[in-house]
Symmetry: C2
Subunit: 715 residues, 2 copies
């Protein structure tokens, strides 16, 4: 645990305490404050256990202490199941005694009402000051299955040896659901090493335990039930550690739909954030979002094979053409490519399969496997030789006559290959259980259904591909040769405006070398004419004011002015109209601006997410795209690869690529602007509330892009 | 079966034959031609069974006949498992003997090669001429579980009494997959009455068996594994019967993705059609498309409750806030609305639940149910009283202490209610099986997972809602007061052009009272000027030719002409340019057309689908929408309700409704045009290949719509 930062090292006593005190212990083991004692005594915990309760001399043959200070030795972990009002004095005792970590089961804090919230704040302040790390309150505690630390009141399913692997740590923000997941994981054959329910997260939160498990050499993969993240930045830092350690985080996150999000808010005190931003962030950080517990179980089973997929090119083997087609559908939906087999492969398959079998992909062994049980092994070994195939999906069936031979052949084919494989058998009859045990021993990922298995495989392949990407440098030092920040600092610092005027905002963009329309600020009709003549007709006139966000709506914009006379008249008209409509507004003059011809309208924006802070948005402009909400997000800072990904991610990407004779857009100009806009937002985090480059016009390849209008609002 | 059309009545001998001959019978019951005899003898078939094979005197103690004609009595069903080359003579024997129906297991026909295809055509012609109905070839046959007709070589799972209901018929186009589905259905606790594998469908096809089951009083719901439909029109007629009979068809259809469709083509000889058209058709006809076998099983389980949902307003009850949120997400994704509870309901819930429980929707009983096992019953009975709640999703858990009380309470709550309910219990331990048996007896739909269950519930609710719609009159007699067909017949009949010119096509639209741009055909510059002056400037000029589909591409269009001089010059220029580019084209003159201002571009089209014939398409116009493929389809004819649905179905619907200060579009004008365009396509089915109204401009409510350009191509 050498590389564990100090803040996280402090959590180790949760998982490996030399001694545990159970405060409020009772001999009634069905109660939350009785259960831990029972579990610690029966699940092999080898450290010291101290029941604490003034009402008992001993419990279950162990000496019971009236209070913490009476305990002769050290106490590393305190499990606290006393009423809410008693938690503060007990935690004070813990601090006096030098207890390292405490778990508070007790409910009645922030999840209930304002009074509970205050009590929780008191409690948080206390443990922070006292250097005590806390899990809870309102939690089910935690389990370390490798050493019998059952610091929970959940009824765990029988332990250990049955389950593989023992390198999966699980963190749940929900207690009840956490317990269900724990049980389903074990039912699914997935053994956990750690299980934590973080509850109200008054001190140690989801991210802390996640960081602990990333640093822990015994944990290879981590699962989570997440309702919300409290600190996006901290989460982001830990996500980078997870990526560096190549330890996948599988997240089941509630609140995807509107109603779901409402329910999440009423259920926990975690902030919900925008689900679209969570999604963008997960994608950015290679966090795997799963849709169900079953999908999480499936991912862990495939991961446990220990075979990293080299790509998404998939071969399917089945015993029916119809099933093959269905599997192909599911695979493609999961992002797996049904690869065209090498001609050599098909020829070799034709050599072993009956004439009516399919030797393309999906490979269909037909019912022939019932009489030739070795067909699975043979065909898989042939596919293994195909250089185009990265992963294999095998739908097999056993038979009474040849079950053993089919099973043995599958195991041999699996062991002879290094490729990721998943196996699906719909009909896992009791009489075949011996074979499934053989598969389990061999480490094969065998499923009894398609949907979760194939989606998990798709997720795993995408995870591996993302991990294999070169870690593009993060944006921060992007513009190190110029120091634009200083140039525009005056505009931001000590600015009491609610936003910058368009002219001011354009100055900011120009300082960062973001191309904008040619334009100058005029303070009289005659000046406007002079500028227009310099720029060349036609021009646009736009009112320039830090008080007017929507210029068109107050009659502040005139487009396509073709002569000096038109410019002069327009200036007068706009000034009068706007002054009448917005008498309070500070009118800085009129922007005289070139009219852009051609190109495609884009929108680039920055907004503040409650959880993740500044978020970058990209989309096509115009009303159609707005109606379709065809935009992509990334949390700042972004890497150059994120800029590329967020452009490719929108559905309208094809338009930028050029369809129906349209020219290809200047993608580099877009990426450049995305990175520079991010830099502006990062340079002035305390000043900028939001930015909207709308429209940004992109021209054909090599011709760049220009910002036609921009709005920068201030905090 | 009185309402069974004669063509379908002929299939009854497949399911209820008084006598069966097994041709090619052998005492080796593991072989395909041995198996049926074994099954018929052991599964309770009460009719006559005649083995036929010249090599045996008797099989399994039954007299074996050398050939069909030696059989003394009548033979209603012949099961044929002889080599392909012998099938023709055997079928001739069948016809001579007066056999009513035959099943041919044998492979080696159209699924293999051209020779096989020819053999199959011979066979089809033979049975058609002889009045013999045929299932197969290349099929696994069929099963009637209610009378022991096991006319199959599949190894069936033990029969009957265990499973509920016995009113589910299943038809599979794939043999191997069909057998798997059969087994999974039974494993899922779903008993089938009929199972058919149609194989190559040389005679009786999927649609025939479907129609049979619709007419059959014993079948209430039908499932299908479908690779492709052969005859869209026949399928459509039967779909109407299914709707009239309120018997859902649940379709698992392969070939959704590109690769899947390719594999389907290589696997069967069924036509794949376009999956988008299948989807539109399924929606139109209220056919339920499921994504997996598990989802089909789940639908049947919910359907078996016998409770028609009155709407999609859903209440959730769970034992954990986190699970409630997850369920809410899944429900919303499945089209179920998480309804706001009546205040009275929440008050009543608050009266029985602990203070920290959630009494909104989702309702969270919390872990309190562990000590108060009656909370399920109480809260469900309260929700049952809520007039806003149509359906309920209940996530429950059992406990060792109170399992029996919880189970009994759930059953009572279920029985006291008439609302559709689904129950989910993740942890169905063996020790609780007695309770699950009680649930089964009570007819409750209980699941061990969420995804399939909730999707099936969503499907069932949508099915019931669609069924409750008034059956809007189908389009056919839409324009009975006018007889436009005669007016334009000359343009279509005996027309050797590949398409109509724009002017000609507009005449067709006008005849059907579809509004178009004001325009006239000019054959000289001077005439063009005269027309332009009548219409009013600005105008557009467009070359009019039945040989030029894309006028703009050959320089055949001039827009926004503002004066007589511009019109005259444009006329000359266009004529010269087009004549140079398309010297062969028949130039009928120039269309002088009003310029439309404002409105929203739409596209309406008709195309020919290989399976379903003429298909109507609707979408927003413009390149953005094209790139996003935001269009909807319906198979013709359509009902008025289909016109409404296909407009609402596109993602850009919000634009037509009016967002960002835009006016609401004239929806009635759109519906009207959709119906009229359909009518044109139906009036000239043998002439029209395709139509494209592009753009059709719709104006704000009350202002109608106008077709700016139209292309009608001919067969």
């Amino acid at each position: 645990l050498a590389n564990l930062p100090e803040g996280f090292l402090s959590l180790n006593a949760f998982f490996d305490p030399a001694s545990i005190a159970v405060i409020g212990a009772t001999p009634n083991f069905t109660k939350p404050n009785g259960k831990p004692l029972e579990l610690l005594l029966n699940y092999g915990y080898r450290g010291q256990v101290y029941p604490v309760n003034p009402h008992y001399e001993e419990i279950a043959g162990i000496r019971c202490y009236p209070d913490l200070k009476s305990i002769p030795g050290e106490v590393e972990l305190a499990i606290i199941g006393v009423p809410a009002r008693l938690t503060i004095p007990i935690l004070e005792d813990c601090i006096s005694k030098g207890v390292k970590v405490a778990i508070v089961f007790t409910s009645g804090f922030a999840e209930v009402d304002r009074q509970g919230k205050q009590l929780q704040q008191q409690l948080a302040a206390l443990v922070k000051a006292g250097g005590l790390r806390l899990c809870g309150p309102n939690c089910m505690g935690l389990i370390n299955n490798t050493n019998g630390v059952m610091a929970t009141f959940a009824t765990p399913v029988p332990a250990a040896s049955l389950y593989t692997p023992r390198f999966f740590g699980f963190i749940s923000q929900s207690g009840g659901f956490g317990a269900i997941i724990y049980e389903m994981m074990q039912n699914g054959g997935i053994g956990l090493n750690y299980f934590v329910n973080t509850g109200n997260e008054a001190d140690a939160d989801f991210t802390d335990f996640w960081a602990y498990m990333i640093a822990d050499p015994a944990t290879k993969i981590i699962g989570a039930y997440l309702e919300g993240v409290r600190d996006g930045q901290k989460f982001s830092i830990v996500a980078e550690k997870a990526r560096a350690a190549a330890k996948p985080l599988l997240v089941l996150k509630a609140g995807r739909t509107r109603k779901g999000a409402q329910a999440a808010l009423s259920h926990t005190s975690a902030l919900a954030g925008s689900d679209r931003v969570y999604n963008a962030f997960f994608r950015q950080k290679n966090i795997v979002r799963v849709e169900s517990i079953e999908e999480m179980v499936a991912f862990v089973k495939i991961f446990a094979e220990g075979r990293t997929p080299q790509g998404n090119k998939t071969a399917i083997v089945s015993v029916s053409g119809g099933v093959g087609v269905l599997l192909a559908d599911k695979c493609e939906e999961a992002g797996l490519e049904i690869v065209g087999l090498d001609p050599v492969t098909s020829t070799r398959l034709a050599g072993i399969l009956p004439f009516f079998a399919a030797t393309g992909n999906p490979v269909d062994l037909t019912g022939q496997f019932l009489t030739e049980p070795d067909l699975f092994e043979k065909s898989l070994k042939i596919l293994d030789q195909d250089p185009h195939v990265d992963v294999m999906v095998v739908l097999f069936a056993l038979s009474q006559e040849y079950g053993e031979r089919i099973a043995a052949g599958l195991v041999r084919a699996y062991q002879a290959s290094k490729k990721t494989m998943i196996f699906i058998c719909w009909n896992q009859k009791d009489e075949y259980q011996q074979y499934f045990e053989v598969f389990r021993q061999a480490g094969m990922a065998v499923f009894d259904e398609v949907d979760h298995a194939v989606r998990a495989l798709g997720n795993y392949v995408a995870y591996a591909q993302h991990l294999a990407l070169p870690l593009a440098p993060v944006l921060k030092p992007y513009l190190k040769t110029v120091a634009p920040k200083a140039e525009v600092t005056d505009l931001f610092v000590n600015n009491s405006q609610k936003m910058l005027s368009e002219y001011q905002a354009k100055q900011v963009l120009k300082a960062y070398h973001i191309p904008t329309t040619r334009e100058e600020l005029a303070t009289s009709p005659w000046e406007a004419v002079k500028i227009a003549e310099k720029i060349g007709f036609p021009v646009a006139l736009k009112i320039d004011s830090p008080d007017i966000a929507h210029k068109t709506e107050v009659g502040g914009v005139k487009l396509n002015l073709k002569s000096a006379a038109e410019v002069e008249a327009a200036y007068q008209e706009v000034m009068v109209t706007v002054a009448r409509q917005q008498p309070e507004a500070n009118l800085r003059g009129m922007l005289v601006q070139e009219m852009l011809v051609g190109g495609t309208e884009l929108i680039v924006g920055v907004e503040q997410d409650v959880v993740f802070g500044p978020v970058l948005m990209f989309g096509l402009g115009g009303i159609f795209v707005e109606a379709l909400a065809d935009v992509s997000f990334r949390v700042l800072p972004i890497a150059a690869s994120d800029a590329v990904a967020m452009v490719q991610e929108i559905r309208g990407y094809r338009i930028l690529e050029g369809i129906r004779g349209r020219a290809k857009s200047d993608f580099n100009a877009i990426y450049d602007i995305l990175l520079k806009v991010s830099q502006i937002a990062l340079d002035f985090p305390d000043q900028i509330r939001g930015m909207d480059l709308n429209p940004l016009i992109v021209f054909k390849e090599g011709k760049g892009a220009k910002v036609a209008d921009v709005l920068i609002s201030l905090k």
